[in-house]
Assembly symmetry: D4
Homo-oligomer: 160 residues x 8
């Protein structure tokens, strides 16, 4: 086996029953172990053991709730492509990752250094974020921001 | 009051205690009502009633689990900007929203018609998705796909 | 004189007193002729004659009121760069110029066929405009829309 | 009521009669109160009271005249996308907003920092504006200017 | 000799005296053979023979006069990048090359199919050219036109 | 008459006979006055007087010869879009205008500061020009160069 | 072991001695087995067995010679980004892969469908390739070609 | 002979037999001289003499082996367009050309300063290369990287 392959290192031994459990929890994260056990046709103890194992090896990162941002007065969902002078890139990424408005932050292929998603109550709050937080960072040279008009699909988690 | 304002219509009456409850559930979606009640200093019954109300009015959409895609052998996370001939846009959006590989799909401001995120086991699976599903749709004129190199932050849900 | 020069043909003989009158009317379009006459140190009759002449020769196109769109529930101000197949360009321009949401429409230098400005109550109304009116036109191949975040200056009319 | 919503705060209580009044004034800003009262089937006093209220709460910002720029020898109408180093953005916006050639200035979504419209007698005057005013500002890194070739529609004000 | 090299085939045997003659003619295309002979320190007959040889082998293509377009009422000098559907490219190039407004037309490296320069009396004439001639050609998919603002240098011919 | 119009100021009084003379000289810049007089059906003296007048008022700038660059070993014809920091723009334009390789240099509308055309013996000479002359100028931030592949039309001068 | 991982499937068991052998062969593909055996301090037989194994499992694809294209009269090295209508992509890729001028052809991330490299005797041959082969393919919508000016490094094969 | 033509200087006198020899060696770089001699119907001595001459004049640069990068655990093949401040361009090119991950590095026409190809074990190794080597170079202002998804053709060497 070639231990140098990082893909291998990051892959857990997830079998089809594990996938079935994840699938149920993905749809209903608060389902009782008893009901979940019935759904996957296993004992309650076995189900709990598998879940614990998946939490331990990092397959399941945590349980959470999906909230509708508009119900909380969050009306602006925006994507940002942030160009940073290369020597300031990591510093900017670290600072932006700590901002509560920033919900995700990636380094992607393509021409833009940082791909960022943020949520804001309204345009004024976003403008304030741009002026006071983003533009104030050292090394920021250009920001392209685009606003969500309509959401067709937004599935947390992933296909199994 | 101007009932025509959709922002108003979509906003629920979420007070600070509701926000505190959401905040705890966001960190731990499987917390027991008893423990949650202690954290927000309310009775178990009151907490449960508030959660039910927030589920009913759509503030809380569902409970779920956060899974690490790499542990399931998903090594490619990609963003797509999909240009579609205008008359085929809605049809393409509907079809793509049904694909299991597609995790989110938006109509954004800016030059690109559909902004899409997908998860794939590897480049071959992504190439097959492009060739057999995306390119095969009527009206697709151009696709820009970019792959995630490094994840700095990825928070499901949103600031409170 | 070279009558072929269209610039010449479109230029009225506007002297400095005319410019002073326009300047006052630009600031206060409902000023009484008496007050306006005082400001520019002319007789009321002369002022009225000059205004009539400027209306006749098209220098003054009309009098109007400046309304704050947000007070009327117009929260989205957007610019569109609309690409059209060349043979459909004029037809598209004519149709779009008739839409009430469209406030201005230009043919500019540069890569984009039509430069358009529109006002909308909210994102949903804009999305509906895009889907039902803009995308439905024959020959539309691509639309880039950008939304106003902050207005620094918006002066109707022009420098004198 | 959620007082935090800025949209709510900026919206005046404009009813259908107000809209009818605005509509008439928009077409003819110098109409007499008597004629206007007839058109909207109200008393002269009521019309004047409503107009005063709309001026007070900022719905009507001012009355003005629409001038044909070409009649005044303004032959070049240009749009500028101005890129500014983020830390100089507000300073540049403030300075540019004071220039008489600049008729509007916005912060938009998308890749460009400032979206500006200007009017000039001719190319030489625009070139002089670029060289002596715009390029001389600290932090300007790039300017894209495009010139109007043909105006299909230019409506001051907005749909009601 | 490697006859396959087209560079070789297109290169005439131009010596330093030929270059001196071209240099003088480039500055003054109507200089008399007598004066030119003096300048290059050759006999009148030798100069004439060399010029004839250079005309014959295509080194000198013709003699002409340089005209100032603005003096003839040509106020708009524009560059166009014209995208054409590949199968219509040659046909479009042939048609455009015959238009009197088109002064040069190239196939360049880079993303644009045809690089074209044109001269027009004014914006209206250019708009008419775009609408009636360019957009009417089969296969034209997009046109980017940019207008000259200021000419720093425009030397016909080339360095020697 | 509106003396402020620069178009007017730059326009000479060129009549149809002048245009006929220019047209002949444009095809054959070394034609004898006698032959030219015959072609336009004027006396030799009148033709010479008109040409002198057109030289004096700048309509005819000079007479020259058109040379085939490839015959002189010039194999690379390139267009450059040169981005310059705004404060260095005029200095860069002045320096570049003096370079013998540069045949034309413009300030255009659009995103690029300087539009330049150059002729080079080969790629090495162009690379040397880029490295040693263009990149060495203060304030140059980016250069886009494109090379001519095929010339469809290249007419010096202009339509009449 | 997760047999579904294609990375695993494509990876051979290449040890450090194999890498040393490849490294020598990469520098000198015609080295005798005897000399190669000395360099890696193995027996001639063992070296030959390892090379045969690497040829069998596809690690070594073949032996070849590196030729200087300019010595063969190949003066133009070009990269092409070829946009194809999605439904014609595979057909175009198959046809282009068979053309002798095409040396490599990839599907990349990013906005362009096919990334292609080609070698040509001169611009004319490249233009002919564009006109007669590339543009003639069904579904080609746009081609961006860029020409090599200077080669800093070109290493066949790869780091070990 | 026109010694100034660099194309001429770089072109060796390669005849059809030489091309046949190169063609065979290109397919099989380790073929024995005896077998090669049979294929091209020459004596073994003549073949060896011609190969030596082609090595001497630089037509054949070296013999090598073609390795499948995936078999060696190289899973990421990427193209980079690297923008460098002009005054740092040569320094950056020299440094990058020495990096083992960089397999080719060019100066191309078009907007990008350096066109680079690199091979990496995985995304992490590429990210580390970007962060620690590429971004750390003085003068790097922007990097566009794109990853290979599928290889249709990759022919080392060139058409004959």
């Amino acid at each position: 086996m070639n231990a140098k392959l990082p893909v291998e290192a990051n892959t857990a031994h997830v079998d089809d029953i594990d996938r079935a459990i994840i699938s149920v929890l993905h749809q209903n994260g608060r389902i009782s172990y008893t009901d979940l056990a019935k759904e996957v046709e296993l004992s309650r103890v076995a189900v709990q053991a598998r879940i614990n194992a998946m939490i331990e090896n990092g397959t399941i990162e945590r349980f959470t709730c999906v909230v509708n941002p508009e119900k909380l007065g969050i009306t602006v969902s925006a994507f940002f492509n942030v160009e940073v002078e290369p020597q300031y890139l990591m510093q900017a990424a670290d600072t932006l990752a700590d901002e509560p408005e920033v919900t995700s932050l990636y380094h992607m292929t393509g021409p833009s250094k940082l791909h960022m998603h943020g949520l804001f109550r309204n345009n004024q709050e976003m403008e304030s974020f741009l002026q006071n937080k983003l533009y104030a960072l050292p090394g920021i040279t250009s920001v392209d921001c685009q606003i969500l008009i309509k959401r067709y699909k937004s599935r947390m988690g992933m296909k199994l």
